[in-house]
C-alpha cells in the first residue's frame, strides 16, 4: 500500500511541475472574480508569448488577508512563491526583511521612475531600489449616481459635502434611499477617508492618516468629521447590514438608491449592464474644494529564489507588467487606470478619462493621497484602529466626542 501511495503522491506533485523549458513562475494573488481573472489573463497571455509558464495560486477572501496569511507561511517555511500581489505596505515591509528581489536594473532600463506618479514610489520602492512593479491604479473616492434619479430630483453634481447631504435629505423625503452601501468596515472606511481629505484639505489628511499627529487626532475638526459621518448614516437605509458592495451597486443601477461611495471597481458593474457614463450614470469625485485622488494600487513583487529559470521568469513578468500595452489591456478590463502616467487612455470610458485627468491635477496640487482604508496611508496597526472606530460609530449610537476619544486611545495603544 505504501508504494502505491507514494507513487500517487509523487504523481500529484509532478502534475503542476510539467513546465516549459524557459521557466515557470508561481504567482500568489487574491483575484478570484470573473472580471479580475479576465484582466489577469492579459498579463498571463503576454507572459506566455515570451515563453514562460504562469502557475496560478489564487487565495481569495477577506480582501486579500487570506492570501497574505498564505504568503507568510510560505516565507516562514522557506518556500516563497515567485511573485506575489502586494497590497499597501506589504512590499516595503517584506523588502526590509530582505526576502524581496531588487528590480532596480530593470527599472532603470525601463524608465519606471519617470513613468510613475512620485507618490506611488513609497509603496514600490525600498530605500532607493524598486522592489515591485505596479500594474494599475484604482481610485477609492468616487461617487456613483443614478442619472435618472438625480435629474428628476433636480440635483446637480454636488460641490461640497453639505450640498451632497442636503440633496440626500431631499431624496429621502421623496422616498428614495439616498446612499446604498453595506456595513463592512472597509465600506464605511471609504466614506471616512473621503471626509478626512475633503472637509479640511489634503494637509489635514496627511497629518491624521500619515503622521498620526496627536493634536490633529484630538481636534474639534475630528469631532465635526464624525458629526458629518453621522449625517451620512442618516442617508443610508436600515437594511444595509450584511450587504455585499456589488449588491449595493445593483441598487443604484436599478434605481432603488441614488448614490454609492465606492472605488472604481464599481464601474464594471455599470458597464456590464451596458450603461454609459454621463448618459445613464454619473461618476464624480467626492466633493471637495481641492479634489483629491485617493489611490489604491496593485503591484507584483518578486521574491528571492534560487532557481535560475524562475529568476528569468520573474524578469519577464516584471517587464510584462510594466509594458504599456499590457497595462492598457489589463486596465480596460479591470476598470482602473494604468499605473504608468504615460499610457494614453483615449480608448477608455469617460469615467476613466476623468480619473486620469484628475490624477494629473492632483499630482500637481499635492492632493494625491494613498487610500487609508486599503492600506496606503497609515500602517496596518494604525489603519485598523481608524477602521474599528469608524465602523463601530457608524453601526451604533456612539457620540462623536466618544469616537474621537476611542480613536486617540486606540492609536496611542498601537504606537
Amino acid at each position: 500500500m505504501s508504494k502505491f501511495l507514494a507513487s500517487l503522491v509523487a504523481a500529484t506533485m509532478l502534475v503542476p511541475a510539467s513546465a516549459r523549458a524557459e521557466g515557470t513562475i508561481e504567482v500568489l494573488h487574491h483575484w478570484v472574480s470573473q472580471s479580475e481573472v479576465n484582466a489577469l489573463n492579459v498579463i498571463r497571455k503576454d507572459l506566455e508569448t515570451k515563453g514562460f509558464q504562469w502557475k496560478d495560486s489564487a487565495v481569495g477572501g477577506m480582501s486579500g488577508a487570506n492570501a497574505q496569511q498564505a504568503l507568510r507561511s510560505r516565507l516562514t517555511s522557506g518556500d516563497p512563491p515567485g511573485a506575489m500581489q502586494f497590497l499597501g505596505w506589504e512590499g516595503p515591509q517584506w523588502a526590509e526583511q530582505g526576502v524581496v528581489r531588487d528590480l532596480n536594473d530593470l527599472a532603470k532600463a525601463g524608465g519606471w521612475r519617470e513613468a510613475l506618479p512620485p507618490q506611488l514610489l513609497t509603496f514600490v520602492t525600498s530605500g532607493d531600489a524598486f522592489i515591485a512593479a505596479p500594474i494599475n491604479m484604482h481610485r477609492q473616492n468616487w461617487v456613483w449616481a443614478n442619472k435618472k434619479i438625480f435629474d428628476e430630483a433636480g440635483i446637480a453634481v454636488p460641490k461640497t459635502w453639505a450640498d451632497l447631504i442636503a440633496a440626500g435629505k431631499r431624496l429621502k423625503e421623496k422616498g428614495i434611499t439616498p446612499v446604498a452601501m453595506g456595513d463592512e468596515p472597509w465600506q464605511i472606511g471609504i466614506i471616512f477617508d473621503a471626509l478626512l481629505s475633503d472637509l479640511y484639505g489634503p494637509e489635514f489628511y496627511k497629518k491624521v492618516a500619515i503622521d498620526l499627529d496627536p493634536a490633529a487626532l484630538n481636534s474639534p475638526e475630528m469631532v465635526k468629521l464624525f458629526d458629518t459621518l453621522r449625517e451620512v448614516r442618516g442617508l443610508v437605509d436600515d437594511n444595509f447590514v450584511g450587504r455585499d458592495w456589488a449588491v449595493a451597486t445593483g441598487l443604484v443601477i436599478n434605481g432603488e438608491a441614488a448614490m454609492q461611495f465606492m472605488g472604481d471597481w464599481a464601474k464594471g458593474e455599470f458597464l456590464a449592464k451596458g450603461l454609459k457614463p454621463n448618459a445613464d450614470f454619473y461618476c464624480f469625485a467626492t466633493p471637495a474644494k481641492v479634489p483629491t485622488f485617493q489611490y489604491v494600487i496593485d503591484s507584483f513583487g518578486m521574491f528571492t529564489v534560487k532557481d535560475e529559470t524562475v529568476q528569468n521568469a520573474q524578469v519577464a513578468l516584471a517587464e510584462t507588467i510594466m509594458d504599456p500595452a499590457v497595462q492598457k489591456g489589463f486596465n480596460l478590463i479591470k476598470g482602473s487606470i494604468p499605473a504608468r502616467t504615460d499610457v494614453s487612455v483615449d480608448d477608455f470610458d469617460d469615467c476613466a478619462k476623468l480619473g486620469f485627468n484628475e490624477r494629473a491635477e492632483a499630482i500637481k496640487a499635492g492632493s494625491m493621497l494613498g487610500a487609508m482604508t486599503h492600506g496606503f496611508a497609515a500602517k496596518p496597526e494604525f489603519a485598523s484602529v481608524f477602521g474599528d472606530v469608524a465602523a463601530q460609530f457608524f453601526v451604533g449610537n456612539m457620540a462623536s466626542q466618544d469616537a474621537v476619544k476611542m480613536l486617540v486611545e486606540g492609536i496611542d495603544n498601537a504606537r
Binding site: M62, A65, Q93, D183, V241, S384, V395, G396, E409, N413
Partner: protein, 297 residues
C-alpha cells in the same frame, strides 16, 4: 503493572516506551515547543515578523487596553456558556426522546448528526443567508403575512453573538445527542425495573436515576463541546466576519487578525497566551483528577 514488570525481558520492558516515544516527541514539538515559542513572542516587540527582543509585559498591557479584546472575552463567556448549555440540554432531550423505541430512529439520528459533517464555511454561508433580514427568514415570514415579524439579530451589534450560538448549537448538538444516546443504551435495565416496581414515575426515574448515571457521558460531552467552542474560528469568520463592527469578535479571531492582518504579532501572541492559560486552568485540574483516580482504581 506488576505482571508486566515481572514478565518481560529488558528489551520488552522498554518496547512500549520506545513505541510511544515518537508520538510524544511529535506532540512535545508541535504542541509544547510551539506554545513556548508563542510565549516568547508575547514578551517581544514583534509586529510584522518575529523579533527576538524583550519588552516585558508591554504587549499584555496593550492587549488589555484594547476594547476589542474585552468584547472578545465577554463574547467567549456568553458564547461558551450558551453553546455548552443549549447543546448539552438539547442533545440530552433528543437522546431521551430517541431512546423511546422510535420507529424512524435511524433516519432521525442521521438528521440530527449530519450538521457535524459540514465544514464551517458551508454552515456559515448557509446560515448567513438564512438569517439575513432582507433575504432569509424575516423576508419569508413577512411575505407569509406576519409583516410585523423581525429577525434581524445578525445585523444588531448587541444580538449578533446569539446568531453564532444558534449556528453553533445547530451544528454540534447532534453530536451531544449521539454521546448521550450511547450512554443511555449502556444503562442497565435492572436498576430501572427495580425503581418501577417500587412505583416510581418515569420523570422521577429520569431525574433521579438515569441522568445521574449519565455523568461520564456528560463529562465527555462537555470536554468535546468545549473543544469545539474554543475552536469556533471558522464559524465566526464565515457567518459574521467578527461583525457587525467587532460585535462578534472572539479571542481566536482576535488573535488571528492581530497577528496576520494588523501587524501586531506580539499582541496576538499575548492573546494566545491568555487563551492557553484559560484552557489550562480548566483542563489541567480535570485531567489531574481523572488520571489520579485511574491510578488508584
Amino acid at each position: 503493572m506488576n505482571a508486566a514488570k515481572s514478565f518481560s525481558s529488558r528489551l520488552a520492558g522498554w518496547l512500549p516506551r520506545i513505541v510511544v516515544a515518537p508520538s510524544l516527541l511529535v506532540v512535545i514539538v508541535t504542541v509544547y515547543l510551539f506554545i513556548l515559542w508563542t510565549g516568547v513572542i508575547s514578551f517581544t516587540s514583534s509586529k510584522f515578523v518575529p523579533v527576538y527582543d524583550f519588552v516585558g509585559l508591554e504587549q499584555f498591557v496593550r492587549l488589555w487596553a484594547t476594547p476589542r479584546w474585552h468584547t472578545a472575552v465577554a463574547n467567549l463567556f456568553i458564547f461558551s456558556a450558551l453553546f455548552l448549555f443549549l447543546s448539552t440540554g438539547i442533545g440530552l432531550l433528543m437522546a431521551i426522546l430517541l431512546d423511546q423505541n422510535i420507529r424512524a430512529e435511524g433516519f432521525l439520528r442521521a438528521v440530527y448528526l449530519y450538521p457535524m459533517a459540514l465544514s464551517f464555511i458551508v454552515t456559515g454561508t448557509a446560515w448567513k443567508w438564512i438569517m439575513n433580514p432582507g433575504l432569509g427568514i424575516q423576508k419569508v415570514v413577512n411575505e407569509l403575512g406576519w409583516t410585523g415579524f423581525t429577525f434581524d439579530w445578525i445585523t444588531d451589534p448587541n444580538m449578533a453573538i446569539y446568531t453564532v450560538v444558534i449556528a453553533g448549537v445547530w451544528q454540534s448538538s447532534g453530536f451531544a445527542m449521539a454521546i448521550f444516546l450511547a450512554g443511555l443504551r449502556g444503562i442497565d435495565n435492572s436498576v430501572i425495573k427495580a425503581a418501577q416496581i417500587e412505583g416510581a414515575g418515569l420523570p422521577l426515574i429520569y431525574r433521579q436515576i438515569i441522568i445521574p448515571m449519565l455523568r461520564p457521558a456528560m463529562l465527555s460531552v462537555i470536554v468535546l463541546l468545549s473543544y469545539i467552542a474554543i475552536k469556533s474560528f471558522d464559524l465566526v469568520l464565515a457567518l459574521t466576519n467578527a461583525g457587525p463592527g467587532s460585535a462578534t469578535e472572539l479571542p481566536s479571531t482576535f488573535m488571528f487578525s492581530a497577528t496576520f492582518r494588523r501587524n501586531q504579532m506580539g499582541v496576538g501572541a499575548a492573546s494566545a497566551v491568555m487563551m492557553l492559560m484559560t484552557v489550562a486552568a480548566i483542563i489541567v485540574p480535570y485531567l489531574y483528577s481523572e488520571l489520579r483516580e485511574r491510578n488508584n482504581g
